[in-house]
Amino acid sequence: MVQMRKTTYLQALNEALREEMRRDERVFIMGEDVAYYGGLFRVTRNLLEEFGPQRVMDTPISEQAFIGMALGAAAVGMRPVVEIMYMDFTLVAADQIFNQIGKYAYMTGGRVYLPLVIRGQQGGGKNYGSQHSQSLDSLYAHFPGLRVVAPATPYDAKGLLKAAIRDDNPVVFLEHKMLYFTTGEVPPPDVDYTVPIGLAEVKRPGRDLTLVTYSYCLLEALAAAEELAEKYGIDVEVVDLRTVNPMDTETIWASVARTGRLLAVHESYANCGVGAEIVARAYEEVPHLLKAPARRLGMPPVPIPVSRPLEQEILPWKRHIMATVLEMMHERVAYA
């Protein structure tokens, strides 16, 4: 058995990039400050030193051009990995991502496909304000043609980033600024593994309610689950979606079959978000499994404020998760 070691999410990502670049010389990196500086959040640290400026390239602040160039390079057989400093800025290049990259395979009748990764961090909690804190996973999932991955643990981050780079399709790979310095068990660098795209995982088994989430919200959900168990005897099963698109509804429904209750939680805007999608699919596919109305929890329809108490108020984190679960379990709680 593989001896695991503790490492950070950040380190896991860096290793994934390094190992994939060693394994496959078609893999290269473009982005702002990624080469000489090693990335604003240091994810691409020391890659320039090993792979040289031909494979680790500092770009100007021209997201449209370099994302479009990633499309071009991927179309002819390369495997670009593009870093976006804050995923909020993908909006500057939204045409390239949604009208071009997501549709290219289809519009060409399958004759051109795009093995590329767009990665970067998103999310709130550090007072970055409206334009540097958004979670855009629901947006990427809304448009067809993009795989959307959002790991929460170092193990999943490394395994999914490797899988993303090996995938023949465009993958939007979402990190979270609150996760970089979290730690977890990961196999040592020489042990190759991937985590398959499109597979959810039960991160905490439970009997009473299925809570589906991903990215940093997983940690908040697990903390909420612990407290709910301790204080209220409510046993929440936490399903880590890991991949937002395609969605592993099989794993979710299997959990709901056990618990009869469903709550989806994410940090992107609730309105027309992944949570609403999960609720809608539940009523399309497994309405009979639901003992109580399925619910979702996401960001309210407001831009993200800088002020700490205001930001804490709107983030769909532990406090709100607990409140929602308690509402959903309200009969049980009333009698507890």
Binding site: P60, A65, D95, M107, G109, Y113
Partner: protein
């Protein structure tokens, strides 16, 4: 041989804008930095064949559209064929090409079977993109056509990325991208010019300046009068040519391709041309006078090339044979496309992801 000829109408002259390249022409101010050696009559005859075939295919498509058999936005390049054919003959099949929604001419010039072009426009299963892409999404990777695009300028960084890939692999392939005069003011052009220049990418930026973007003449929205001067600011070699003369186009692209292959970086070519048909099928063309269009017919690249061939002692009979061969090609292509089946309904759901 003069490279660009322009006239300025009285209204336009005031603004300093040239709108025309019909025969009553002024020689261009900029001397070409390349030679225009005469091509052999064999090559010119082949070019004539392809240009005429493009014309006939697009005329057929316009008819089909007016009969209501083609929906959406169908843009023809009638009058602009020399750009596609000159460029295709000057590059290799393994070079990479991207272009706009106005791309039938490039597709056929690259070597895509015209039957597949027509089938694609009609939405048939035998189309080059299985009927999913339509007129705006011609594709033919075997001949280096990596995609035509419905969003103005979006295809331009794609070509830069292909050039980057070729360079990273140490290949001497180049990338060539076509766009219109109106595309110049999409921000992504600027971003791409800078990176291409900075990284010295082997890419050719080819502007088909047909004087209009949709229904608006370019002079109404452009602060820059001579568009080819713009990319010079990045240090990109940039020239203006007569895009209606296939020999000039061929010479310019050959020169630019050679520069790219030998590591000298990107070249920008502004080719002055004119579309003799509407912006798209159904265009009422209220934004220009019939006189203007008729005047431009004199510079029709097919007439220019036909005359060139006659001047070089190709007989009317030889030309008639080509014209007959084109008619047969067209008939075959139409027959192929029209008798092709619709895609199976299940096709609506495939090709979103590569499995």
């Amino acid at each position: 041989m003069s490279v660009v000829k322009t006239i300025t109408s009285s209204q336009e002259r005031k603004r300093g804008w040239s709108i025309s390249l019909a025969p009553d022409l002024l020689p261009v101010e900029v001397p070409p930095p390349f030679d225009v050696p005469p091509l052999s009559v064999e090559v010119l005859q082949k070019m004539y064949h392809v240009m005429l075939l493009i014309r006939r295919v697009e005329e057929y498509l316009l008819d089909a559209a007016s009969e209501g058999r083609i929906g959406g936005a169908m843009h023809t390049a009638i009058g602009m064929e020399a750009n596609a054919v000159g460029a295709a003959f000057a590059t290799r099949p393994d070079d990479y090409v991207t272009c706009t929604y106005r791309g039938h001419h490039h597709a056929i010039a690259r070597g895509l079977d015209p039957g597949q072009v027509i089938a694609e426009v009609l939405g048939k299963a035998s189309g080059c993109a299985r009927g999913k892409g339509g007129s705006m999404h011609m594709v033919d990777p075997e001949h280096g056509l990596m995609g035509t695009n419905g969003v103005v300028a979006a295809q331009v960084p794609h070509a830069a990325g292909m050039a980057l890939a070729a360079r990273m692999r140490g290949e001497d392939r180049i990338a060539l991208t076509f766009f219109g005069d109106g595309a110049i003011y999409q921000g992504v052009m600027h971003e791409t010019f800078n990176i291409a220049a900075k990284w010295k990418l082997p890419v050719i930026f080819y502007m088909e300046n047909n004087k209009y973007s949709e229904m608006t003449p370019i002079w109404r929205t452009s602060a820059i009068e001579d568009l080819y001067t713009f990319p010079k600011v990045y240090g990109i070699e940039s020239i203006r040519i007569n895009g209606n003369d296939v020999e000039i186009v061929h010479a310019a692209v050959s020169w630019a391709a050679e520069r790219a292959r030998s590591g000298e970086g990107p070249t920008f070519i502004e080719a002055i041309t004119y579309r003799l048909a509407g912006h798209m099928a159904g265009d009422l063309e209220t934004y220009r006078t019939p006189e203007e269009r008729e005047h431009q017919r004199q510079a029709d690249p097919l007439l220019v090339l036909r005359q060139k061939l006659l001047d070089r002692n190709v007989t009317e009979e030889a030309l008639a044979r080509i014209e007959e061969a084109v008619a047969q090609d067209l008939a075959r292509a139409v027959e192929f496309a029209e008798t092709s089946p619709w895609p199976d309904i299940a096709e609506a759901y495939t090709d979103v992801f590569h499995l």
